[in-house]
Symmetry: C2
């Protein structure tokens, strides 16, 4: 394999610290945005992620989806159907990141407006109502 090695076996933990370990996984500019999209929409397909405002590159997207799946933070809504149209959801482990995300958003809104004036209030990082 050349490109995009993924799978959690490949992670080398920098230390035994929980915070450091969390960052070993989601400490980059994209992973938490994928999680965020799932909180906001409940479910999301590859192309919906791809078309998000931030504009993630498709190779990065694919590799992050693979990593997050291998760590079971996300999973396909229908594990045994082919990929096309087969969206992703949060697993319990992924959904458990919600408080962390919320605190991060709260901090951002309270302290980053000064640098980034047109930042928006968060819609409410809440899955849309089912049905």
């Amino acid at each position: 394999m050349e490109h995009a090695a993924t799978g959690y076996e490949g992670i080398d933990w920098r230390s035994k610290c929980p915070i450091s370990s969390a960052l070993d996984i989601i400490g980059d500019k994209w992973s938490l945005l994928i999680i965020r999209d799932l909180f906001m929409h409940g479910t999301r397909t590859y192309s919906e992620f791809r078309d998000s405002d931030e504009g993630i590159a498709t190779n990065i997207l694919a590799s992050r989806l693979k990593l997050l799946s291998s760590l079971e933070l996300i999973e396909r809504t229908d594990p045994d159907r082919p990929a096309r149209g087969n969206a992703f959801t949060l697993t319990e482990r992924g959904a458990a990141l919600r408080p962390a995300l919320e605190e991060l958003a709260r901090w951002s809104q309270a302290h980053l407006k000064e640098f980034h004036a047109d930042m928006v209030e968060i819609a409410q990082p809440e899955a849309e109502v089912e049905q």
Copy 2:
């Protein structure tokens, strides 16, 4: 300037989303570890950061300290003395990240042990008692 361009003017915000904006700043593997060290010790010098378990490279450390200072998440304990021995502290803005860090640690301890068995309980991300 060749190396290590820093200062918040250089940040290009990917979107108006607060979470995305937070990640534009602290969305990497090192920044939050600097913040963590400050929570745990109250104060920290360059070499103390450098000697942390995770082993940050000195060029990265210097550039992160510069960026976090320019965003006023951290500051020198004594702004007008020379750098040597002049530690860093959290500003109010930096200290406000505590809930987010705590939730992240909580999540990590609850959900990452399975992949990283020897992860340690967090000491208590609380500044040591003064004096």
